[in-house]
Amino acid sequence: MMIINRNIAISETGFVFNPINGESFSVNPIGYEVISLMKENKQADEIMQYLLANYQVEPETCRKDLEDFMGMLKHHLLLEDKE
């Protein structure tokens, strides 16, 4: 299971800092919400339910965008594998 790297710092303004390699990122408000939910150990399905309940978006688009976002988090080494 992929979870968000514990050491990552994220501020409400969407500033993300990875202390392991010193890289920083910015996320938009919805990205901030997703990362916050991940930090609470919410799974992809739950996050999707949350987005569908709060935003005007089709399930297919939402799933695709969420997968894409997770892919980018992984690409930027912000996710870690956990058994």
Partner: protein, 452 residues
């Protein structure tokens, strides 16, 4: 509780330092309306994609150009360059504004005549005028701009047959310090070809040499090049006066003024870097006024300005079909408008603006059209706000060359509307249909039957 407007989650790595090749962000506000009409409604009424022409912008741009020249020079005439955009409605607006017609083929010539342009106010340019074209236009007393000697001899022949003295000019090419030099059209100034052609015309006594013409290039960013061109044509006119005691009535400097688009690879957007009509007018008129002419003998100045008059009045509205990622992780957005209808995306980084509200988050995006072809790239790299499937975009400054060079390829060409001075839309070209395409095709009888 009403749900919030959705925006996809994005993460962007922060890098210190320079703007990258995706350029500076330029889209800060959505364009939800064009001349008072909602983009969303226009697309739902007329279909997507859709070309929109603003009549107001056409007339205002014409007015700016006219004012720039007429405040600096006593005799100015614009001639609308048909190839730039020959939709009948667009040509008609320019003719209402007082423009003559500048055409480069029999087809364009007939189009201008059919629109009711006085044939005496049609300038016939180009290297490919057929015998028939020449007979017709000489019969109509149009202005024939001679491109090469073969054409000159054909005209001599026709004038004998018709017992008419055609009104002609020669196209002159020259070094104006701008490279590549357009030297395949007309007669060269520096090597004496132009003077040779002038002498042949004057000695033939078969035609009246009324003007001198040049078109030094297109999307010219240097007003000084026009000063050089005007100077060289003025010198030729003076030499003709001296040697043949013959007065040249007009100097036609062609087209080529840059529009406010951004050329590919340019660092600054064209909106900030292209010279204004005033800059071009100042260069041209100063050169003419300082030339060898007496005040009462200043020649008429003709301008065949194309793109700079029409680019800004044209918009292409489109819809996002899909978002995806390339194999290297770059964002890809696919629009329903491709290079088949937006030929100028080969030259320009067209500005693309979302037509609905967006946040300040952007992604570096490659914008593709819908064709199943690798060449179908609308923008190689654009820093764009986040667009959802089904969102609409406005592509700016598409009025020049697209509605003439578009191709019927894979898809049909879309509708074109013109929004009038009272913000009312009018269809000026119908969406192409399968019927239009099939109407000009024929299937030989023996290949008609298909196996069952």
């Amino acid at each position: 509780m009403e749900k919030q407007r959705y925006e996809r989650p994005v993460i962007k790595k922060l890098e210190t330092g320079m703007p990258n090749k995706f350029g500076l962000r330029s889209e800060y506000v959505p364009i939800t309306h064009i001349e008072g009409n909602s983009v969303k409604e226009l697309l739902s009424t007329y279909g997507s994609p859709l070309f929109v022409i603003s009549e107001r912008t056409l007339r205002q741009t014409m007015e700016k150009a006219r004012t720039a020249f007429t405040t600096r020079y006593p005799k100015v005439q614009f001639a609308w360059s048909y190839k730039t955009n020959y939709l009948n409605a667009v040509c008609s607006v320019f003719h209402q504004e007082g423009s003559w017609a500048e055409v480069v083929s029999g087809f364009e010539y007939d189009k201008a005549v059919a629109l009711g342009v006085d044939p005496k106010k049609i300038i016939f340019n180009g290297p490919d005028k057929s015998q028939e074209d020449l007979k017709k236009s000489i019969g109509n007393d149009s202005l024939i701009h001679i491109d090469h000697l073969d054409e000159f001899y054909t005209i001599v022949n026709i004038s004998d047959k018709l017992k008419k003295k055609p009104r002609v000019a020669i196209r002159v090419n020259m070094d104006t310090g701008v490279y590549p030099m357009w030297d395949r059209f007309g007669f060269n100034y520096e090597n004496g070809q132009a003077w040779d052609a002038i002498s042949k015309i004057m000695h033939s006594k078969k035609m009246e040499l009324v003007g001198l013409h040049c078109h030094i290039g297109t999307f010219m960013l240097a007003p000084s090049a026009y000063a050089i061109a005007a100077g060289k044509l003025a010198d030729l006119a003076h030499a003709i006066q001296q040697k043949f005691n013959h007065e040249i009535k007009y100097i036609d400097l062609g087209g080529g003024f840059a529009s406010r688009n951004t050329l590919k690879g340019a660092y600054l957007p064209g909106i900030d870097s292209s010279p204004s009509f005033d800059d071009f007018a100042e260069a041209v008129t100063t050169a003419l006024i300082n030339g060898p002419f007496k005040t009462e003998k200043l020649p008429l100045l003709i301008l065949e300005t194309g793109r700079a008059l029409v680019d800004e009045a044209g918009f292409l509205l489109g819809t996002v079909i899909s978002n995806k990622r390339s194999s290297t992780g770059r964002r890809i957005t696919i629009l329903d408008a491709g290079v088949n209808i937006l030929f100028t995306s080969f030259w320009y980084d067209h500005k693309i603006t979302p037509a609905q509200p967006f946040t300040h988050y952007t992604e570096e995006t490659i914008v593709y059209g819908p064709l199943c072809m690798n060449i179908d790239v609308i923008r190689e790299n654009a820093s764009l706000p986040l667009l959802n499937k089904g969102d609409h975009v406005v592509i700016h400054h598409v009025g020049a060359y697209n509605m003439t060079q578009w191709m019927q390829f894979i898809t049909l060409r879309p509708q074109v509307i013109m929004i009038d001075m009272n913000d009312k839309p009018h269809i000026i070209r119908d969406k192409e249909t399968l019927g239009n395409i099939n109407a000009v095709e024929h299937i030989p009888e023996h290949v008609k039957t298909l196996p069952r």
